[in-house]
Point group: C2
Chain length 350, copies 2
């Protein structure tokens, strides 16, 4: 069920203006182009083409374009959506970015290293009157205050990192919008920020401001709609649990959706840490979430069954989780999130 | 039981060299001089004097000195230990820092704003061949890996912020050292960093590196001694719990000491949040800590009874906690930490 142009939200009002040229450079594999891929998948109507270097080993299936060609096709901004080791920009990429500025595009980057740290890029932006956007640069933030605020919020939480929290959150947004419900994806990671056109890179925020960042991206809303907050990490991942807890507290979530990859052998990057039991994981998340919203409930499980050999196995995996937790369990990629959203709507019927 | 020179650890080998002149500037009250006060209290043997401006409204009880006078008395470093609103340095302070550099001292600061952000200070340091140290500047850190490491570690955790975690940790260090046990205070806040001469300002670390910072300050040790890690915040404080959880995971604590202020009306700064039940708070900390150290236990409670009207009331407050939790409870300021350390030693007898 790929997203379609008609269901996608309006163009973002601020930040880096679409349409986009997606810069893949010499990305060595699919994973290196993860951010560009997320954008091409969820906001295809904003993407006019891709730029690939001579050693590029991946494609998004978009038309290949040079910089002048992209501008002629209407591109306003080039998105540097490739992840190099260490998040740095090599000399060839810097040269390409300068050429794209000279062709007339703005530049947005998801790398750790700031565009503004390269004098040649800053100079070219000034010369051409173009803008530079660093998605990994957090906005000025305040410390979280925990004060109850208006609006309904759903947060995805995970048994581990990289289990599909962004995908699940976006799929729920699409399903709610298709039903005519106001719903907005609130991004907390670089790919999500490009998809939403706004957000906070919560892993780059200073530690004291994690919950404040969550409060900032999902402010009080009075229109009866839902803020759907992209979760990060896991309370059970010893490297990143602090981020997950701050996000849980700042979100004041009314509803949680647990995200899980059946069959994963161990926590991402940590062979000595087993994936937590789903029930214990969900209970720990609910317990922590109650600090800022005592009424929080779980409404479903999003299973990432991409490693299941066939649809039947995937369906069985979902059924097993469903039986164990008593919550609807679906793979957003295989079957969508209709039953999770059914449960959400029945629990929060006005 | 104030600390005495004989029990304090050796001079720090790196960083800002003692002895110190403590700069109070025009601190309007005692709270503004909190960092300088902690240093004067816990490391009096490193402090030769204090500098007070014409509008200063507090004192540490140290000899008042000008910059030249302090250098003549042996001061190697001036500690800027006053907290202004926003952690910024006013023009008068910048002028004083330049004068102190011209007199021949190094400068160490605990303010959010970096010394190096003032060109006049950088220029004066260069001119005099002196060094600038920013205690709030975290070292380069790695993401935590959760791998079990050698050594014994104790972490103080709290029902709230500002309940006496640093004081309790330092008091336990003093008690263990007095018993001939190798023990080192590991600092996570600016005052603690000045007292220890090293540490990580964990609230200033980027969110992804919280547990990595805790691993960094308490690396594997093989000498049978204890690392005593200064806790921060509280799992139950909606503004800062992420920091507390990352610290809990990265510490891999063998022993926890719960810190609490009896009678506190609500969470610090948040009138709408009650202080958690001690038993529930301790259990939540133990549960979270078990992720990286399944054998973690609690060994005592440090009660801050500074608001009790008399010693009898304070003793009763401690007794009540002791009965409720089945753990030794002491006020480190009033009675020391002998019984908590007795419990620690009996639980971890070789």
């Amino acid at each position: 069920m790929p997203p379609t142009a008609t269901l996608a939200p309006a163009l973002p009002e601020t930040g880096w203006p679409p349409p986009y040229l997606l810069y893949l450079g010499n990305a060595p594999d699919h994973l290196a182009a993860k951010t560009a891929r997320g954008l091409a998948q969820w906001r295809p109507q904003w993407c006019v083409g891709q730029f690939r270097g001579p050693d590029c080993r991946t494609t998004l299936g978009l038309p290949d374009m040079g910089f002048e060609e992209a501008v002629a096709a209407g591109a306003n901004t080039m998105i540097v959506g490739v992840a190099n080791a260490g998040g740095r920009m090599d000399a060839g990429t810097v040269q390409d970015v300068v050429a794209a500025l000279d062709a007339g595009m703005n530049i947005a980057s998801g790398l750790h290293q700031r565009l503004s740290s390269h004098p040649a890029i800053v100079e070219a932006a000034g010369r051409n009157g173009r803008c530079l956007f660093d998605a990994r640069q957090p906005p000025p933030l305040a410390v979280g205050n925990g004060a109850r605020r208006a609006g309904r919020r759903l947060l995805t939480v995970g048994t581990d990192c990289s289990v599909g929290k962004m995908y699940a959150t976006l799929a729920i947004e699409r399903e709610l919008q298709a039903r005519g419900v106001r719903a907005d994806f609130r991004a907390t990671g670089q790919t999500g920020i490009f998809v939403a056109g706004a957000g906070v890179p919560i892993d780059a925020v200073v530690a004291d401001f994690i919950s404040g960042a969550a409060e900032w991206i999902s402010p009080a809303r009075e229109d009866g709609g839902w803020d759907l907050i992209e979760g990060q990490g896991s309370l059970f991942h010893p490297s990143y649990a602090g981020v997950s807890l701050g996000l849980l507290h700042g979100s004041q979530a009314d509803a949680l959706v647990l995200c899980h990859e059946p069959g994963r052998a161990h926590m991402r990057g940590l062979p000595h840490y087993p994936v937590p039991d789903l029930k214990a994981c969900l209970e720990a998340n609910l317990q922590a979430a109650r600090l800022t919203n005592p009424d929080v409930i779980a409404v479903g499980v999003a299973a990432n069954t991409s490693h299941a050999p066939d649809a039947e196995t995937a369906a069985r995996q979902c059924r097993e989780i469903e039986d164990a937790l008593g919550l609807p369990c679906e793979d957003p990629v295989r079957t969508g999130t209709a039953r999770i959203v059914d449960r959400l709507q029945s629990c929060f019927a006005d």
